[in-house]
């Protein structure tokens, strides 16, 4: 018997009892819609959490010990020698130093073209940190070289990606000023700075340098609170202002793989340094909460899908029992037990697949409504996702697949019962 014939028979059987078929389709649809919605919610929340707490599990942030015997004896200082020793640790691919500029820097006026986003008369004190250019290499490929410029040249800077979000969603609304225009590419924007100026009375330097900084990129690897410039620029300014070398404030180690990070952190601690894992730990905690919550929701959805499959199984079993004479007739006319089994499984596949398609459409529709409500009811805030429910194509396909597969699995027993119908007895 051909698959086309089997499909025609299965379809005709479902049409013969449309009420039962509709209930089966609805049962599968409820399970599928729940699965689609819960997984989409988990993906949406997970995506928002990842943007809010960007963390690379391969990074180990090494900082000088606050108080250590090594420090008292002259060890524990993070300098180039310590960086080389950290770089030599097994599993370390790179060691990127970071040095805070100890000369005050202030911005007395806004970037050109963004005057509206600058409160009148404001002078902004800006912390500056020097970073290894290779650490932000992937974020500074937009035409502004991230290297110490010649005297008088614009200094390239990198800002935290999160700073822009927080400025737009929190600072700008609080100050009553417009945020950065939507669609604006901030790379290349210049800001006049005065090096040596402090807003704290008596803390300014005698020598004031008028410079310009030019945004070279946005990165998740630079601090939220500071403007990152090339490490060489900070070292040059320290020399210019006769500051002794303060050492590195932090060295970021890049592990070969996330699995190497704990051992590297332990080795750094043994060398007398502290390891700052606060951001990573926060990201990991948030990630764990998201994973556990999503897992529970998906578990609940799978339970509903299983219940739907059970309902379909019962319905198919009742249908097979009621049709035993018809099934026997098919056998008398030439159907094999395998044909009969396949026909019942195809019936389940049709109701499961149909329910899956319906559930996917309903889930997607509810997702759109949820997003509309999300945008309409909640205020704008940093990292507010555009969509709280994310429906990738694979999820839509998986929704239909899981619904169809669970229905077919539920129909295995009724199909076996149908294949066992004795035509001689059923037709007598």
């Amino acid at each position: 018997m051909t698959w086309r014939s089997l499909l025609a028979l299965a379809w005709a059987n479902l049409r013969a009892d449309p009420g039962a078929a509709l209930v089966d389709v609805l049962a599968a649809a409820v399970g599928a819609a729940t699965l689609a919605l819960f997984v989409a919610l988990g993906l949406g929340v997970g995506d928002a959490a990842r943007r809010m707490f960007p963390a690379d599990a391969r990074l180990v942030e090494v900082v000088p010990a606050q108080l250590s015997l090594g420090g008292l004896l002259g060890g524990g200082r993070l300098d180039e020698s310590a960086r080389q020793r950290l770089l030599a640790l097994p599993g370390v691919r790179a060691a990127w130093p970071r040095q805070n500029l100890v000369v005050p820097v202030a911005a007395p006026e806004p970037p050109l073209g963004l005057e509206a986003a600058w409160p009148p008369g404001m002078t902004l004190q800006i912390p500056v940190v020097g970073v290894d250019p290779s650490m932000v290499e992937e974020d500074t490929r937009r035409g502004v070289p991230f290297a110490d410029p010649a005297e008088g040249g614009a200094i390239p800077v990198v800002l935290s990606r999160r700073l822009v979000e927080i400025y737009n969603k929190t600072i700008a609304p609080t100050w009553g000023i417009p945020g950065l225009p939507a669609g604006l590419d901030p790379v290349g924007i210049e800001l006049p700075l005065r090096i040596g100026v402090s807003i704290i009375p008596g803390k300014s330097e005698r020598r004031i340098l008028e410079v310009r900084v030019r945004l070279a990129g946005l990165s998740d690897r630079v601090p939220l609170y500071a403007m990152a410039v090339p490490l060489a620029t900070v070292q040059r300014l320290h020399r210019l202002y006769n500051r002794s070398d303060p050492g590195y404030g932090q060295v970021t180690l890049l592990a070969d793989s996330p699995a190497d990070a704990p051992a590297i952190a332990a080795a750094a601690r043994r060398m007398g340094f502290n390891v700052d894992r606060s951001e990573l730990a926060t990201a990991e905690r948030v990630g764990t909460v998201v994973r556990v919550t999503t897992g529970a929701l998906v578990g609940l959805a799978l339970l509903m899908t299983a219940l739907a499959a059970l309902a379909i199984a019962r319905s198919r079993a009742a249908s097979v029992a009621a049709r035993s004479r018809e099934i026997a007739l098919l056998q008398a006319l030439g159907a094999t037990a395998r044909d009969v089994r396949a026909m019942v499984l195809l019936e389940a596949l049709l109701v499961g697949g149909g329910g899956g398609l319906l559930g996917m459409a309903v889930g997607r529709g509810l997702g759109l409504l949820g997003d509309l409500a999300w945008h309409g009811l909640l205020p704008d805030f940093p990292y507010r996702p555009e969509a709280i429910l994310i429906f990738p194509a694979w999820l839509l396909a998986a929704t239909v697949g899981v619904a169809a597969l669970s229905a077919v699995t539920g129909a295995l027993t009724p199909a076996a019962a149908a294949a066992r119908v004795d035509p001689a007895r059923a037709l007598s």
């Binding site: 018997m1 051909t2 086309r4 014939s5 025609a8 028979l9 005709a12 059987n13 049409r15 013969a16 004479r325 018809e326 007739l329 098919l330 056998q331 008398a332 006319l333 030439g334 159907a335 094999t336 037990a337 395998r338 044909d339 035509p423 001689a424 037709l427 007598s428």
Partner: protein, 222 residues
């Protein structure tokens, strides 16, 4: 067309073995109508199920359409039923969800291996319906047909594959006298065209078209 030799068949009933057929010998040749009569429960339907390759749990030797049933796989038995045997039942056994024509086409849909093109199959189905005088009722569902019309649809279904053997189990049992007569006449016509017809019945009128009338009693044919 059928040659049954020393057929035995027994069933378990409440842990007790009941012997329904006790060494039945029967042969039906092409063009012959053989009627088997007997009381209810005498084993007529069991005999028909064995002759139609529906029941493989028998003893003895059964040859149908030139093939010995013993040793045939389930698939081969199904194929034999599909190609060589037509069934007509007392309760018609039409699929209620299918229109008359779709019921007639069922054996074509169930054919193993490469299927006949849909249009050709449909033409043959319509021809089979026309043969039993129901061409105009092709689109009617069984619930819209009278008892006689349903039985004629069942006969058309049996004829679709041009079987060499037609097996009928109480074919007039649910029909009035006039309709029953027309069905009996149809069996006679089919036999004249070369089909071997085996009818089990307890109605005397079937014997009018039968070449032989046998009686099944105490598990034996006489």
């Amino acid at each position: 067309m059928i040659r049954l030799t020393a057929i035995t068949r027994s069933f378990q009933d409440d842990g007790r073995e009941v012997e329904v057929l006790r060494g039945v010998d029967l042969s039906v040749a092409p063009g012959e109508v053989v009627a088997v009569m007997g009381a209810s429960g005498s084993g007529k339907s069991t005999l028909l199920a064995i002759a139609g390759a529906l029941d493989a749990g028998f003893g003895g030797e059964a040859v149908v359409a030139g093939q010995s049933l013993r040793g045939l796989s389930a698939g081969a038995l199904a194929s034999l039923r599909n190609r060589s045997v037509g069934f007509v039942f007392q309760s018609f056994n039409l699929v209620p969800a299918f229109p008359a024509l779709e019921n007639v086409l069922l054996p074509g849909l169930l054919r193993q291996g490469r299927r006949e093109p849909r249009e050709a199959l449909r033409e043959r189905g319509l021809a089979a319906l026309a043969r039993v005088g129901l061409a105009a009722k092709a689109a009617a569902r069984p619930s819209r047909l009278s008892g006689g019309e349903r039985q004629r649809v069942a006969i058309a279904r049996a004829l679709l594959t041009r079987p060499v053997l037609l097996l009928a189990d109480e074919p007039t049992g649910n029909l009035d006298a006039v309709t029953g007569e027309s069905v009996i006449r149809l069996f006679g016509e089919l036999a004249q065209e070369g089909t071997a017809v085996l009818v089990v019945t307890h109605e005397e009128r079937v014997s009018r078209v039968a070449s032989r009338v046998l009686t099944l009693s105490e598990g034996r044919l006489s």
